[in-house]
Amino acid sequence: MKLAIRLFAAARDLAGSGAVFVELPSDANVGGLRVALAAQHPQLAPLASRSLVAVNAEYAQDTTPVADGDELALIPPVSGG
């Protein structure tokens, strides 16, 4: 399956876009998503390794499954406040 991942802040700047697509097997989880993202978009790899992933606007763990239709986002270390 082909899933979009939303990007913010430095990740968006690195990709030149507010989202990128990744190809994933249908039984993927967040850990697999991280590997695929770094492989398919190597310019994001360094920041992605320091980032969290949100699935449907909730912080997810590497074991969290991802499915077609999920809203996915890469969350670099936050700096609000």
Binding site: A9, A10, A54, A73, G80
Partner: protein, 153 residues
């Protein structure tokens, strides 16, 4: 009450919300754009959010603060876009019957907001550099170990 806004934060309106007859103490915290970081000069800051998620996280913060302390009002507002020098990027207004709760909740809310809410700050330095701020080894390790007070996944 939580809010994301691209307009200047109206602190007076937050105080009016917080000053209820049931309260005896109000604490308002403002995080403002600071001109100097060491010798380096900031022209302005810009903030970006993952808006839908940031609103959810802010609502969780309000709910958790109200669970931990007995609060009359708990208002969290974060500004997005450009925030000029001395203006507030974030405002937290809490009120309670006695001052312990208001001080403790105000401090906890800003500390936790800075760790958990998907909002990012871009420094616009006077030397022309523009830089997203993505802290930090501390924050990073806290995420990894679960030491941070993150909302349960």
């Amino acid at each position: 009450m939580i809010e994301l806004t691209t307009h200047p934060i109206e602190a007076q309106a937050l105080l009016a919300r917080a000053q209820q007859p049931e309260a005896g103490a109000v604490v308002l915290f403002l995080g403002t754009t600071r001109k100097y970081t060491g010798d380096r000069e900031t022209v302005e800051l810009q903030y970006e959010a993952y808006r839908g998620m940031a609103e959810r996280e802010l609502k969780k913060l309000e709910a958790e603060a109200r669970r931990r302390w007995k609060l009359v009002e708990c208002a969290i507002v974060h500004r997005l876009g450009i925030v000029p020098l001395a203006e507030a990027s974030v405002a937290i207004a809490v009120s309670s019957a006695h001052r312990d709760a208001a001080f403790e909740a105000g401090r906890w809310l800003i500390d936790t907001l800075k760790d958990s809410v998907p909002i990012w700050k871009q420094e616009r330095w006077a030397d022309g550099e523009v830089e997203w701020v993505h802290p930090s080894e501390r924050g990073r390790e806290s995420f990894a170990t679960g030491e941070l007070v993150l909302p349960a996944v």
